[in-house]
């Protein structure tokens, strides 16, 4: 995306005055709007609108074989596609490093919280388990795909149902039990513009920012994921500050999950 020097300079000047181009405070998180069950063909789905960012997540389940080192556990796999629908900066084709990172960070927040009871997804040890596929598609890119992605995937998981499995067949029309999820992990991402830390960045801010720090939290305050991104560095004090702020935002965001 080509950004005018004037816009860039404005954002930098505002940041050094602890202000943002959309008028928010440095620690103002946009209010998410979450709608679930919007994709009837999926076993779980959600649309998250975070400001102008829109991400849709869908869950498809199927039967597969377990991993050799986890023979009595179901499998969860997370993917994302950044398509040109969402932004002129996204290109069609195989997943870019940005796409891979997004999918893997969202996956980490959810997987490491241990919210999904993978043992309950085992049908026949060593042979048959439920495979849970999470797929995220941003529809409109206005920043913070990671936090929006986590909210979308979690909302989809919390409202997903497993179909009936009988006589070696999945009966997709007969949705029975809820997906066994017990916790509501969320992520909170800060951006860094020169020396200023700001939470929940928009696309314009992301074009200017030099670093990003995401942290995933479980309800009890345990950290379940972290990812630093970008070419900026962070001091240990900045990390501690962001962790402190993020805990508050995590509680805020969690309140919007179903």
């Amino acid at each position: 995306m080509v950004m005018s020097e004037l816009t860039k300079k404005t954002i930098l000047t505002l940041a050094s005055a602890q202000e943002r181009i959309d008028g928010r405070g440095l620690q103002d998180f946009r209010t998410p709007k979450i709608t679930t069950g919007i994709i009837p063909n999926a076993q779980g789905s959600a649309l998250v609108e975070l400001g102008l960012t829109k991400v849709v997540a869908g869950i498809k389940v199927g039967i597969g074989t377990p991993y050799p080192d986890k023979q009595e556990e179901g499998v969860m796999a997370t993917a994302a596609e950044l398509t040109p629908i969402a932004s002129p900066d996204f290109e069609s084709g195989p997943p870019s490093p940005q796409t891979v990172e997004l999918a893997r960070v969202v996956d980490r927040v959810i997987r490491e919280s241990e919210t999904l009871d993978t043992k309950a997804l085992c049908i026949k040890p060593k042979e048959k388990v439920w495979m849970v596929y999470l797929d995220m598609y941003p529809l409109d890119m206005d920043g913070n795909l990671i936090d929006a992605g986590v909210l979308a995937c979690m909302a989809a998981m919390l409202t997903a149902k497993l179909p009936r499995y009988e006589n070696e067949t999945v009966i997709y029309d007969d949705l029975k039990d809820p997906l066994p999820v017990s916790l509501k992990p969320v992520s909170v991402t800060h951006g860094k513009i020169e020396n200023t830390l700001l939470v929940d960045t928009t696309n314009t801010e992301e074009q200017v920012m030099s670093g990003r720090y995401t942290v995933g939290f479980k309800e009890d305050g345990t950290i379940c994921a972290m990812q630093k991104g970008g070419i900026a560095t962070f001091s240990p004090e900045e990390i501690e500050t962001m962790l402190e702020n993020a805990q508050v935002h995590a509680k805020f965001l969690r309140g919007f999950l179903p």
Binding site: P97, G221, A232, S235, P236, I239, Q247
Partner: protein, 244 residues
């Protein structure tokens, strides 16, 4: 290996180390002939080779930046490097992510604006994996960059830290430890990759999976910073040794 009963007993880890101990390190600067800069690093049984080419022409040309060098670090694991089954050669999603975060960590200290429209390419090959491979790779890449004469604000020194379960006087405990080996990475409770610019005292890479409290993380980070400063001395010594 099946899940061990304990990863740490009365402050002694499975390999005899104390919680704050790194594994034995070996660093050789200028290990390779053809590359502009190179390094070989062993951290316990983890063995990594790093090669640097650059600043050089950018291919494909459209990737070049008009005002700075681009930094591309490619992390790869050799097929035979892993425990258990052979790893299929070629990039997988994990390698793509690791390459991205390592590129960013190194770019944070390289003075890229001195070399517009060029590429600085770093290749990290893990030839034996016993956990903490990306951080060992960064420690090696950093030495390789210095060996290539690429100007940097600081070196990058990197290590892992995490949390493991065990016993203390028969009671179950969870302990923060530094430099995870494979058993600790596989069976442990949290695994953090940490890359540090030891003079700037700034963090260049930070990733975590598992579960850790804020206090345990802060403790781990303090261990990590201390260990990275020790690593820095070893990296410098390896570079100096080349000229003896």
């Amino acid at each position: 290996m099946d899940k061990p009963q304990t990863l740490i007993t009365n402050n002694k880890r499975l390999d005899g180390r104390a919680p704050e101990d790194m594994r034995p390190l070996k660093i050789i600067a200028g290990y390779l002939e053809k590359a502009d800069g190179s390094a070989y690093v062993e951290c316990g049984s983890t063995k990594v080779v790093a090669a640097v080419y650059g600043p050089r022409d950018v291919h494909p040309k459209h990737c070049a930046e008009p005002d700075k060098a681009i930094v591309r670090c490619k992390y790869d694991m050799a097929a035979f490097s892993v425990d258990g089954e052979r790893k299929r050669p070629g990039p997988d999603r994990r390698s793509v992510e690791i390459s991205k975060v390592c590129s960013e960590a190194l770019e944070s200290v390289i003075l890229t604006r001195k070399f517009p429209k060029t590429a600085i390419d770093i290749f990290v090959e893990v030839i034996q994996a016993d956990a903490s491979t990306r951080v060992t790779g960064l420690t090696a890449a950093s030495v390789a960059l210095a060996d290539a004469g690429i100007p940097m604000q600081d070196l990058i020194s990197a290590c892992s830290f995490g949390r493991v379960y065990g016993t203390q006087n028969g009671e179950p405990v969870e302990t923060v430890v530094v430099d995870l080996d494979k058993a600790e990475d596989n069976w442990g409770l949290a695994d953090i990759a940490f890359a540090y610019a030891p003079n700037l005292e700034k963090i260049a890479l930070l990733q975590m999976d598992g579960r850790i409290s804020r206090q345990e993380f802060s403790l781990g980070m303090s261990y990590g910073m201390k260990v990275c400063k020790q690593l820095y001395e070893l990296q410098k010594a390896a570079l100096k040794k080349k000229y003896e």
